[in-house]
């Protein structure tokens, strides 16, 4: 099984990577772990002329805590790095558990959180918990301006869409994945409404108090058992019944809960079509 020929580019900085993506446009794809992209190329679903490797961009691997901002996870952090990270284990254990449920050790050692998000497959392990925790994607381009913050959510279509909305202005773009897809992968997210190619460089997880977090982790575990249920309304009812929320509790928890329900039922709906 042969990977189609391409030109390999290894930029030394995020800005250089963005410049290359602009220069080559739709002919270029971003290579991070490659565990999805190379399989698609071998299967003949993609034939990019250029691969822009993020190998040298070690700054994108960091996972750090920033007071007031929460935990910032570099887009190139691998699943095993997310899973074994002390900060995440202490503050967002459910993210570690979701990363752990992903594939096997060999894939978790190369596959990245950024790649997992932008690949946007219905069976992805990380997006639901990142949505539940109200995390944001920070996406950078070459414009030189401040990176934008994006809110991630799933639509509940049979075709999965991962939507990122810019909170400051009314514009949005989406990464979509269709069966037999030929759409974007591994970080190249140039879409029709987005004027230039962009790289997701970090996920900024909003501050969630430990108590709320513990409860959302428990909800998540419960819901993992429930997502095989075919009926959306049934899952939602059950969640509502199981919810430990009391009247008057913060709407934030409420929102988290409904997002979990939406994402999980979307997974249930789409997985049956495969």
């Amino acid at each position: 099984m042969i990977v189609p020929e391409f030109e390999y580019l290894s930029p030394q900085s995020v800005q250089e990577a963005c410049a290359l993506l602009i220069q080559y446009g739709a002919n270029a794809k971003v290579l991070a772990g490659g565990s999805d992209l190379l399989v698609k190329m071998k299967d003949g679903l993609m034939k990019p002329a250029y691969l822009v490797s993020l190998k040298n961009l070690d700054s994108l691997k960091a996972i750090r805590y920033q007071k007031g901002a929460g935990v910032i996870i570099g887009a190139r952090a691998t699943h095993n790095e997310v899973m074994n990270n002390d900060i995440l284990q202490a503050k967002y254990r459910s993210v570690c558990e979701a990363a752990h449920s992903m594939a096997a050790d060999q894939i978790r050692n190369v596959g990245t959180i950024g790649g997992n998000l932008v690949n946007a497959v219905p069976s992805a392990d990380l997006p639901p918990i990142l949505i539940a925790l109200d995390s944001q994607a920070r996406i950078v381009g070459t414009s030189g301006s401040e990176p934008f913050h994006w809110r991630i959510s799933f639509s509940d279509q049979a075709r999965l869409r991962l939507r990122a909305e810019r909170s400051s202005r009314k514009s949005s773009f989406q990464i979509s994945q269709r069966p037999a897809a030929t759409t974007s992968s591994s970080g190249c997210v140039g879409q029709e409404r987005w004027p230039w190619p962009a790289l997701p460089v970090a996920l900024r997880s909003a501050m969630v108090p430990a108590k709320t977090f513990a409860s959302s982790s428990a909800q998540w575990r419960r819901h993992r058992c429930e997502r095989v249920r075919p009926s959306k309304s049934c899952a939602v009812r059950r969640l509502a019944r199981n919810s430990s929320m009391k009247p008057g509790e913060s709407p934030r928890s409420n929102q988290n809960l409904s997002m979990i329900s939406g994402a999980a039922s979307s997974i249930g709906a789409t997985s049956s079509t495969y």
């Binding site: 099984m1 042969i2 990977v3 189609p4 020929e5 391409f6 030109e7 390999y8 290894s10 030394q12 290579l31 490659g34 565990s35 190379l38 399989v39 071998k42 299967d43 691969l51 490797s53 190998k55 040298n56 070690d58 095993n80 594939a103 096997a104 050790d105 060999q106 894939i107 050692n109 190369v110």
Partner: protein, 163 residues
């Protein structure tokens, strides 16, 4: 940081395989698996599904398991790789290899190199794993002869011998 040097359409790749420095000129679409097997003759690394599902091509890159069919050779530039040939020391097999023989954990043997390397990575980071941890560690390695019981026994026996 080691940056790949480009010569025409080829890239110069330098990496340490089983303690020996190697260099090769590769095309950008050459996988680490093909580089190891075709250029360096480390044919103990097996070619299976080539899609990252079966784990037959498992090698250790900087001590971590990877599917070498899904790693481009240019991406492995500057890294340290261990294949099944690199486990023996001074003509003596690694304890894991010994136990695979003792426990008759080899049937056709095609999955064995990958299985042993996945187990090796586990025992390095966790010298006394539980059976569940062993089963999880070899979760990315498929045995079509379905001889998992003896494979797990062999890995646990090697861990026991470590203590």
């Amino acid at each position: 940081m080691v940056t790949a040097i480009k010569k025409g359409n080829l890239h110069v790749v330098r990496l340490v395989v089983n303690g020996e420095e190697h260099a090769a000129l590769v095309k950008s679409n050459t996988t680490l698996l093909d580089l190891l097997r075709e250029e360096f003759d480390y044919t103990g690394t097996k070619k299976g599904c080539e899609l990252g599902d079966c784990g037959a091509c498992t090698v250790l890159m900087d001590g971590k398991t990877v599917n070498s069919c899904l790693v481009l050779a240019v991406e492995a530039n500057g890294h340290t790789v261990t294949t099944i040939e690199g486990l023996e020391r001074n003509g003596e097999l690694d304890r894991l290899q010994e136990e695979f023989i003792n426990q008759a954990a080899v049937q056709c043997g095609y999955c064995s190199p990958g299985m042993i390397l996945s187990a090796k990575a586990l025992l390095v980071r966790n010298p006394h794993p539980s059976e569940r941890e062993v089963r999880e560690a070899i979760g990315g390695n498929l045995c079509r002869c379905t001889g998992y019981v003896r494979i797990v026994k062999a890995i646990l026996a090697a861990a026991e011998a470590n203590s």
